[in-house]
Point group: C2
Chain length 107, copies 2
Amino acid sequence: MKSGNLFGGIPEPIAAEIFEELLRSGNLKLERIVSAGQATPPGVWLDQESHEWVALLAGSAGLRFEDESEVCALKPGDYLHIPAHRRHRVEWTDPREKTVWLALHYR
Amino acid sequence: MKSGNLFGGIPEPIAAEIFEELLRSGNLKLERIVSAGQATPPGVWLDQESHEWVALLAGSAGLRFEDESEVCALKPGDYLHIPAHRRHRVEWTDPREKTVWLALHYR
């Protein structure tokens, strides 16, 4: 089983978001995501089969839910729960520094 | 479902380690632990029924496994996996600043 550092092993520059599986067991998957300014494409909503608990550990990001009008700005340490099929999108991630997410997907 | 900040809501001073459940579903439990210099009592080993994925997010700590001679020193971002029944103990946590852990227990 992998050990490491959540802020380590990030190539520079990164062309696309990096998804790295840290743990998978039964119906749970834990992954690290590294973003560098990427966002969900315009007009696209994420609609997931699994529930997701997600924390932003470095950088910053704006998360929008289809059922809310305000964009939720996330700073390091912020976490939230996204139930399956609650449609959401990443409006923006920090353009200057890497944004590191820890996402736990489960059913 | 709770949202918040992993580094927020920490009382000062703290008399004992703080265990806060962030998520529980089926056989998984996600918790934040805040330590302020505490350690596992001398001679005691932790022997858990569940597997644990754990990350240290702030502070520092020394983790010892019964089957290893060296203490594993953890810094922010370090994560590791502790299989069920792998006996271990926390030798020390940072005496000067709070140590924040994120622990995912699952079966």
